[in-house]
Symmetry: C2
Subunit: 151 residues, 2 copies
């Protein structure tokens, strides 16, 4: 799936497609289970969401948080809707998407790696970037999908 | 207004009280018009919001963004729901609140000051902290309230 206006959909391992949103794992996994939650319709402002879209987001946020608690014992979650990068262009084409970062009080061992949230209790770091190999991305996405309750 | 569990409500100049949320200006104004949007009920997880609460938030986000466009010609907006600080305590008592940061392509002159978003098009800075004097906070809040459509 792609967006006709920009390149925001169709990247990364898909966790779940609802009717209105797509959840995909980010390749950058400094916070284990980091995902993008992207609106399928092209619009550039959170305030432009329909009631259907914001209600569907709420349900999906609940399911995603639960899946991360079950998958990796995530403690809590950071959600942000920023869209700054789009405004570096002369003709900005922002596309509503959420950055979802699970945060962890404890270290997690998974796929032969240790994931540690060394900033737990503080704002997420943007300096620490951990792009994990494709096969690790697939394993992480597979585990989250397994616990993602679609009903 | 205060929260019975924590100290999250009742700080800063109030922009608007809806039935379910409170908007208050943050004293830190490195992004002119920065506000906290705080749930009146005490709960610590975005996923715990009721349908009423998320729909009311959506309406209020729309009104607040419009007010900032009219007040200071804001270009776009960053929204984040983090709640990290609460987890520095042994018994965390997170309280759902949004960080609202208007972002500006152009400088704004107001109350005898120049407000400049030198990171426009990029993630907000957390190093640059501009706590403005109380009388400036009051002027900023007054201007936003004037343009905040309550109907």
């Amino acid at each position: 799936m792609a967006c006709q206006n920009c390149d925001f959909l169709g990247k990364g391992d898909i966790i779940y497609n609802s009717r209105l949103w797509q959840i995909a794992l980010a390749p950058e996994q400094s916070y284990l289970g980091r995902c993008y939650v992207t609106l399928k319709r092209h619009t550039g402002d959170l305030a432009d969401l329909s009631s259907d879209e914001i209600l569907d987001f709420k349900e999906l946020a609940e399911n995603l948080e639960n899946a991360l608690k079950k998958s990796f014992n995530a403690t809590m979650f950071n959600w942000s809707c920023l869209m700054n990068d789009a405004y570096q262009k002369k003709k900005p084409e922002p596309h509503v998407h959420w950055h979802f970062r699970p945060r962890y009080k404890e270290k997690v061992s998974f796929a032969g790696r240790i994931f540690e949230d060394s900033e737990f209790g503080h704002h997420y770091s943007r300096d620490r970037k951990i792009i994990v190999p494709k096969y690790v991305q697939k394993k992480i996405a597979g585990r989250i999908r397994k616990f993602y309750d679609k009903d």
